[in-house]
């Protein structure tokens, strides 16, 4: 069995177990409904796009509306995935099987991340379907997928890396509390009030990608603050750099955990 097959086998069942988690569906569904219902009172940027707006703008607005809060649900849902094998005492059995710790970790990441992203993707598709009917523009479906891939998916990858690994050190409940604090501090607090990464390339709320899709700066993208080299003007290349940085930064904790596990469990 090759490493890829091992990883896909783990991913397949990790996906299955995570997708059956009722709390994931309830949390993401509830938050998506609340955001959709409350968007009129959240300011002009979050308000529905004017009639006649292109499908790209319509669906990008939906994506950054969801990206403000939904990644918190991603973090909550993923926080116990690596701890779970220890809690359920399945780690011993898994360690006796041929796949090594790195393959299992990669499979767990892949399966649980795709499962966690599924309700959010469905929320985007429901919004795209609604807009397609309302505006008579089926292009919203394609732009819904594109906006999900550019704005929400990098946030999911970034959050997943830390949500899977940090609880191994902090415990899941403590991580969840700290993560909510981080989310509001690192994504929504303004640099003029306190030092924060809000509006930088490393802001998982997706300000650069959303700004690129809309063609105008949103969500404080590039706002002056600490680490100015991480705050270029929101351009196409800056958006690409932001997506790449978020993905790489999200994979770093996994890489560290993989190396550590391989060293700690040489079997």
């Amino acid at each position: 069995m090759t490493g890829v097959r091992e990883t896909l086998a783990v991913a397949r069942y990790e996906f299955r177990m995570q997708i059956r988690k009722q709390s994931l569906w309830i949390t993401v569904g509830l938050l998506a409904c609340l955001l959709a219902a409350g968007r009129f009172g959240m300011g002009p940027r979050y308000a529905p796009a004017p009639s006649g707006a292109p499908a790209r703008e319509v669906m990008t607005r939906w994506a950054f509306l969801f990206s403000v809060i939904l990644p918190i649900a991603f973090g909550m849902a993923l926080a116990d995935r690596l701890l779970r094998d220890r809690r359920l005492r399945t780690a011993e059995l898994l360690a006796s099987l041929p796949p090594g710790p790195a393959g299992r970790l990669a499979g767990t990441w892949l399966g649980s991340v795709t499962a966690t992203g599924t309700p959010a993707l469905l929320a985007m598709l429901v919004a795209a379907g609604y807009e397609a009917v309302r505006r008579g523009d089926p292009a919203t479906l394609g732009w819904g997928l594109a906006a999900f891939a550019a704005v929400l998916a990098p946030a999911l990858v970034f959050v997943a890396g830390y949500a899977l690994v940090c609880p191994l050190v902090l415990t899941a409940p403590l991580f969840r509390v700290l993560f909510v604090g981080y989310w509001f501090w690192g994504n929504l607090a303004l640099p003029v009030t306190l030092p924060t990464l809000t509006g930088s390339l490393l802001t998982p709320v997706g300000s650069y990608a959303a700004s690129w899709l809309l063609g105008t700066p949103v969500l404080q993208a590039g706002i002056p603050g600490p680490l100015p080299f991480l705050r270029p003007a929101p351009t196409t290349s800056a958006a690409a750099a932001s997506i790449a940085l978020l993905v790489v930064a999200g994979l770093l904790p996994l890489l560290a955990a993989g190396l550590l596990r391989t060293r700690r469990h040489p079997a």
Binding site: M1, R5, E6, A9, V10, R12, Y13, R16, M17, R20, D85, L88, R89, T90, A91, E92, L93, L94, A95, S96, L97, P98, P99, G100, P266, A267
Partner: protein
């Protein structure tokens, strides 16, 4: 699959779990007997490739277990039932077996389905194959545990305390199932329940404080208590000498079974020993030898000191 272990040591921090184990397992069903904390589970985990040996040599089927490649090679031919078996509660038995089969490299879907069906039938879980595991009893979980261990038709089965927590009927059923599996494979059964070894194994090893103190046929171990097993019927206190193996209240007094090298009471009558008596006699002999060792060392030091 032959197993050869020489000078195996394994510590956890300052605690030495195995202190130089030497053991040869020829094949068939082999029992590993020992009290709590004897090092059985550590030895089983090393056999299963879950733990790397600290020092010494472990060869299984010619594969060196001190190397990662050796452990991986053994794991491809291994079935393992850990002592503390955890299962995913949200999966059904069929799904769990499919997951483990995939991880064992059974890639052909049709062959995998066929084998899973056969194993569910073997362990009597066909009727509940689609139900979530979360509602299963301890016995059902253990049976599912043995089914996953048998996936891929392994040549080595390592089962650690498989009957712990089972009711008597489940225990007997499980024991019989295990004994039937030993036909063409090596089954390593670790337990502290002497009866399980007596009923299933031809050969056994006894482990205490991280060392093997006996290895050989079960019948030979039983003989360790020959001439040292007694039955005492009394209305008074149990005999002070020896180890009381059992005490039965017979209404008009007590019937004690005692293992002692000397007659523990004037009314004691010799009886044929069981494996449990042999185990107790061996442990007692070992404990007295160990107790004598420091005294011998102290005496030797005193002699050298006077010179």
């Amino acid at each position: 699959m032959d197993i050869a272990i020489t000078g195996l040591r394994r510590s956890f921090g300052r605690v030495a779990a195995l202190r130089g184990v030497d053991l040869t397992v020829p094949g068939g069903m082999f029992g590993l007997l020992g009290g709590n904390g004897a090092g059985k589970t550590t030895l089983m985990r090393i056999m299963a490739g879950v733990l790397a040996p600290g020092a010494g040599q472990v060869s299984i089927g010619g594969h060196d277990m001190t190397s990662r490649a050796g452990r991986r090679a053994v794991q491809r031919r291994l079935g393992y039932l850990p002592q503390d078996l955890g299962l995913y509660p949200d999966l059904s038995p069929r799904e769990l077996l499919d997951y483990v089969a995939l991880l064992k490299g059974l890639d052909d879907p049709a062959a995998r389905r066929r084998q899973i069906g056969e194993l569910l039938d073997t362990v009597g879980l066909t009727d509940v194959a689609g139900r979530r595991i979360k509602g299963f009893s301890g016995g059902m979980r253990r049976r599912l545990g043995i089914a996953q261990a048998l996936l891929g038709d392994p040549t080595l089965l390592v089962v650690d305390e498989p009957t712990a927590g089972l009711d008597p009927e489940e225990r007997i059923r499980f024991r019989t199932l295990l004994a039937g599996l030993a036909g063409h494979r090596t089954v390593l059964l670790s337990t502290h329940i002497v009866e399980d070894i007596a009923q299933t194994c031809h050969d056994t090893a006894v482990l205490t404080a991280g060392q093997v103190i006996y290895t050989g046929p079960v019948t030979e171990l039983t003989r360790a208590a020959e001439g040292a097993t007694w039955e005492v019927r009394t209305t008074g206190a149990p005999p002070a000498d020896g180890v009381v193996v059992s005490a039965v209240n017979s209404g008009d007094g007590f019937r004690y079974r005692v293992v002692s090298p000397t007659r523990p009471a004037p009314e004691a009558a010799p009886v044929p020993p069981t494996l449990e008596d042999g185990y107790v006699a061996l442990m007692r002999r070992h404990a007295s030898t160990r107790a004598a060792e420091p005294a011998t060392r102290t005496a030797a030091r005193a002699r050298w000191g006077r010179r």
